[in-house]
Amino acid sequence: MSGGSGMRVGAGFLAVAVISVVLAACGSSDKGGSTSGGTGKAGGTINILGTSYPDFLDPALSYTVDGWEALSQVYPGLLTYEHKPGLAGAKVVPGLAEALPTVSKDGKTWDFTLRKGLKFSDGTPVKASDFKASIERLLKMDSQGSGLGFTNIVGGAEYLKSKKGGVTGITADDAAGTIKIELVKPRGDFAYQLGLPFAGVVPASTPAENQTKNPPPGTGRYAFKDVVVNRSYKLVANPNFSESLKGTAIDAGKAAGFNVTIDKQLATQVTKITNNTADFMIDNPPADRVAAIKAKYGGKRFEQFPTNSSFYFFLNSEVPPFDDVLVRQAANYAVDVNAINRIQGGVLSPANTILPPGVPGFKQAPDMYPFDLAKAKALIKQAGAEGKAVTVWGNDEEQTKNTVQYWADTLNQIGLKAKVKIVPAETYFTTIGDRKTGAQTGWANWFQDYPHPADFIDVLVNPEKVVATGNNNYSYNASDKELAARIDAAVAQPELTPAVIDQWTALDVEIQKKAYWAIYGNRKQSTFFSDRMDFQNCKGEHALWTHDWAEFCLK
């Protein structure tokens, strides 16, 4: 998931959160990962501020964090994520389905049974064919989510093309309430993808058009109301919340409702929260105010936590000089996380592994390439790469721009000849993702779609994923067949057993050895509450949604 999508303006960095008890760096105490989201009273309306309106208030289309924060409360799918803080929130549990699916031995057939007596918020009953129609709607609209596992359904890619005949691989039996999904290739992360809003269930009658102006009814604990595009919207308690969902994972939500308003000025948002006219801001406070806020409200109304995101400099292994592993390793030794953290205004959590701390497969380990400029210089000399020209790519967002200027200067200091090339943010990823561009190195980031290691390693480093355009693998390591085979094998595993998790950890170490990235950090996300909110018990910091509004509560 790209952190830049829909949020170009300034410091609005949204990320997907994870709380890891391991990270003492942010000074936070144990957030009660084992309890059910803490105590705290129910009721009350919470006022939320956003910097830009969600890209879409339509589950089939939205692909941004603030979109998902709202949509996750309204459109659960067959499977869903626990509304709990910490690693507990990264768990996939039954949502509208009675139980976790029965998966065939070859991992290609998934059987679900729908709960009985389900209703949409307008009272109409939920049928199995509504699920099928929801997925087809996604493909019909050429949604950005199509590639998140839905073209891997038999008939999915064909339906995407022809828009006729439905998705043959989904069989929905309304009478029995069963759904059978057949996959082209077995993938262990399909369950995680089914829990995303893309697979949220809406009535089959919903037109295949952007419904932002008038969002369709859903089955979640909340429903949309009073939607004023680009200004505000409300979430109120679902008047027809299904009986059969009571007590399940979907039945979570302490507040009576949420009023979300858009305020383009982050500074004003901070002022409003400070004087309690608003309760929560979705985006981070501007970098130059964080120090003051931390000093005044740290631990009482404010804290920062690392998110499941990777920030790194990609190293193109197809093109000189980074085609030489020695030069790539030199680059890794040259990265000074301390320095980059200052450019970013202190919102960086240092990292030295491919997987961020909240994703299964992450393992704390000493830095394979501790900061050492002298060593980096020596390696460059050894590789005979002194004076080689390098173009460092970045986009025009404030922090990215400054970070790549730092990176170019650093590469110059170790003996290369680097110069910076800034590209507009909207076209940045498509430019470096074009194999023909031959981008040697530059800034890159990735925010998780779901907390599964495949979402990082398979998407970002799998040599098999290298194509002509639209790449996410900027290391262009297409020739590394051995790595590809290992990653494919891990992806096909249907369940994240400890043994499988170890496989992913080993892959992480392997990728670091080959130095395809110069990784430097995970972005920290802020929680900044008004006085009304119960900071101690209901922070709502979630492994997937960043902030899970269902866990918010007032004092």
């Binding site: 790209s2 999508s5 879409f56 050429d142 199509s146 590639g147 073209t151 383009k264 074009d434």
Partner: protein, 304 residues
């Protein structure tokens, strides 16, 4: 006029197709897409067609109000119209201020030409036109909203939130815009007045023995104002297309900000829409000014 607008639309279209790395299908498909999705999008949006065909399709959509952004699939016309109140409030308010003060100071300057009021006002005027407006806006934000909280730190309050709030949020942007233009207009008026003094018809008026006030007020001022009207009309027309810098600094979310965001993200549909909107305003106000000119300046009327 139509020719000009057509030419502008073609130029805009061409500029944005010359950019490398601008395959819109890739952008619409998002980061986690696959080739199937991208190919499909190219089909559905018609990116595989020849450029002239695409141009015609875009223009059709513009006129039908169905133009959609490539970045976020929002309707361009709607977003444009959403930004109009903020921009209009900004420009019309500032224009009223700068016209009033510009004329006032211009007259004072001219009447006291050569003496200290004139010198003082000249210093003020020249300084005014030498200031970068975005920098002044930033200074205002720093000193007047952060060091002391006399004004809100930007943002636009629509009239529905109350006229007091509306004006309160606009004071600084108005002042920033007006500061620059007051200087310009006052100097323009001053030199026009001093030029007009020499014209034959004024000499005739003196010779006829008309009172000083009559000559200055009726004959000189009115004629000196004519070029002002021209420039003012064109200025307002051009600015209504979006005061990009001031809107951006103060976060007013008007048409100008929409333009800056779209151009920054190389999003062709909104760029096309806003450019045509802006050009249309310039051309329309140009025509208005010509008409007004004919009314004000009797010589032109007589010629026509």
């Amino acid at each position: 006029m139509a020719l000009v607008l057509w030419a502008i639309s073609v130029i805009t279209f061409v500029i944005f197709y010359l950019i490398p790395g601008g395959d819109p299908a890739l952008r619409i498909a998002g980061r986690n897409s696959n080739e199937a999705l991208r190919a499909q999008i190219r089909e559905d949006y018609g990116f595989n067609d020849a450029k002239p065909v695409q141009y015609v399709r875009l223009m059709e959509k513009t006129f039908n109000g169905q133009l959609e952004s490539y970045s976020d699939r929002t309707n361009v016309r709607e977003r444009l119209l959403q930004g109009v109140p903020a921009t209009a409030s900004l420009i019309l308010g500032a224009a009223a201020i700068w016209l009033f003060f510009g004329v006032l100071l211009g007259v004072i300057s001219a009447v006291y030409a050569g003496r200290w009021p004139d010198r003082l006002l000249t210093i003020f005027a020249i300084t005014g036109i030498s200031l970068p407006e975005f920098w002044i806006g930033l200074l205002a934000l720093y000193w007047l909203t952060y060091k002391v909280s006399w004004f809100p730190p930007g943002g636009y309050a629509p009239l529905t939130a109350g006229p007091v709030q509306w004006a309160y949020h606009l004071v600084l942007p108005w002042a920033t815009l007006a500061l620059l233009s007051i200087g310009f207009y006052s100097r323009l008026l001053r030199s026009n007045i001093l030029d007009t003094i020499h014209d034959d018809f004024v000499r005739t008026a003196w010779a006829k023995g008309l009172s000083r006030r009559r000559v200055l007020g009726r004959h000189v001022l009115r004629n000196a104002l004519i070029p002002i009207v021209t420039v003012f009309g064109l200025d307002v027309g051009a600015s209504l297309g979006g005061a990009i810098l001031v809107e951006k600094v103060f976060g007013l979310n008007g048409v100008g900000q929409y333009i800056a965001d779209s151009v920054g993200s190389l999003d062709l549909p909104p760029i096309l829409g806003t450019t045509l909107y802006g050009a249309f305003l310039i051309v329309a106000f140009s025509a208005l000014v010509d008409i007004a000119y004919a009314f004000i300046d009797p010589r032109i009327r007589l010629q026509a």
